[in-house]
Symmetry: C2
Subunit: 241 residues, 2 copies
């Protein structure tokens, strides 16, 4: 485990990351499955070193899982309920994995550290899914993109954390113009509308949507996309940063 | 100090509260001044007991300063920069207050605890200013409402925390219909418009504003306000919870 390396972390505070990607009209979340008996999946997360800011900690965790350095991320909520601890999860692990290395590799002190109550700072990240090569950590069996409506059951309150992240993303989408970070650099107005429809889970009127987006004055219009049928070719756009 | 009572707090995590009130077209913030030489003011804050949630901790801190139990509060951001510690502040205190009880009342262990790096969870609260009787804590000289544009210089990054709270309040005002918590129970449309104009620091067109508010369908219209000039009497409204 991370905290065994003799590094000094802040106690009882963790970071959990909801990494959003978008592909084929679906909003997806990157979820690792732990290399333990019992099908445990969780959000990518970690702890905060004494000598790094919370944003630096989040970036470090995100880079380790996506391979990307420059990620749009947003702190969206702290989860600080009284019952937030890993104890039930670790009891299950120890019960199910007695003969495996996973359980033995925790000594008493480490178990004490990790099973205390944790306050977790939730970050969400928006990535261009095509640029990500998902990375397993040493304790993962696999790591995969899941459509947000088909997430597996995650440990602790992690499903709730995803629900909260989506809620925050919806609130911020118009005000902060962050949706573009989920698209490739060049896109059509239809791509953009489909993204918004996917995130809000409702349709928008095409003319209104286009008008609203153009009025924001943040899109550069490029040449028409070559589709073969010249007069129906849609314009391509790029977000002006 | 609070943490001397033998109670067990989570280490290196604090809560800071921005308590907003509204009066005479001014948005105000409740700020205590510490009973120490050197004019130190800070946001009302505190720590999180092992046996309370972060929301419970915030409510406990808010109740202690306002006397109110039922307060609208919103967690809005975590402040987790690397340099966030009380050390410079405490060095100043010790330097300025050597002969005073304030400095002596800290022993080495307590000083160590409180001068470590702190991650602070920012909450803002919205209160009906007329219902609040501001309460000094044992370490305060005074506690007062300040107009947000005329805040004193606060310790650490507390001025920045207020700026962030205002930003979050603006983002949430329309979406969450929380502005009403800053007004008395009964108000006129003009009162409401002035509140919005104060928070956003810009004027709104009267007809548009009224139309938009009525369309929200959350206001109960009551009898007209008696002003003496009957045909100019404005309607009174109440927020339907």
């Amino acid at each position: 485990m991370q905290f065994l390396n003799g590094q000094d972390y802040i106690q009882q505070v963790s970071i959990d990351c909801v990494i959003f990607g978008y592909q084929k009209k679906q909003l997806k979340v990157l979820v690792p499955k732990l290399a333990l008996k019992g099908d445990f999946s969780s959000l990518p997360g970690g702890f905060i070193l004494q000598n790094e800011s919370i944003d630096q900690a989040a970036r470090r965790i995100l880079q380790a899982r996506t391979g990307l350095k420059d990620i749009y991320l947003e702190q969206f909520r702290v989860f600080g309920d009284l019952g937030r601890n890993n104890m039930p999860f670790f009891e299950q692990i120890v019960g199910l994995n007695q003969e495996q290395q996973g359980a033995e590799s925790f000594n008493r002190k480490e178990l004490e550290w990790i099973t205390r109550r944790f306050i977790s700072i939730g970050y969400y990240a928006l990535v261009d899914i095509h640029q990500v090569v998902p990375q397993k950590s040493e304790i993962d069996q696999s790591i995969e993109w899941y459509t947000i409506n088909e997430l597996p059951s995650l440990i602790m309150d992690h499903n709730q954390i995803v629900a909260n992240a989506l809620q925050s993303l919806r609130l911020s989408l118009d005000q902060k113009l962050i949706g573009f970070t989920l698209l490739p650099e060049i896109f059509t107005m239809k791509d953009l509308q489909e993204l918004y429809e996917t995130i809000y889970d409702k349709p928008f009127a095409r003319n209104n949507f286009q008008k609203k987006m153009l009025e924001l004055d943040v899109l550069d219009r490029l040449e028409k996309k070559f589709t073969g049928a010249a007069n129906k070719a849609p314009y391509l756009y790029r977000f002006r940063k």
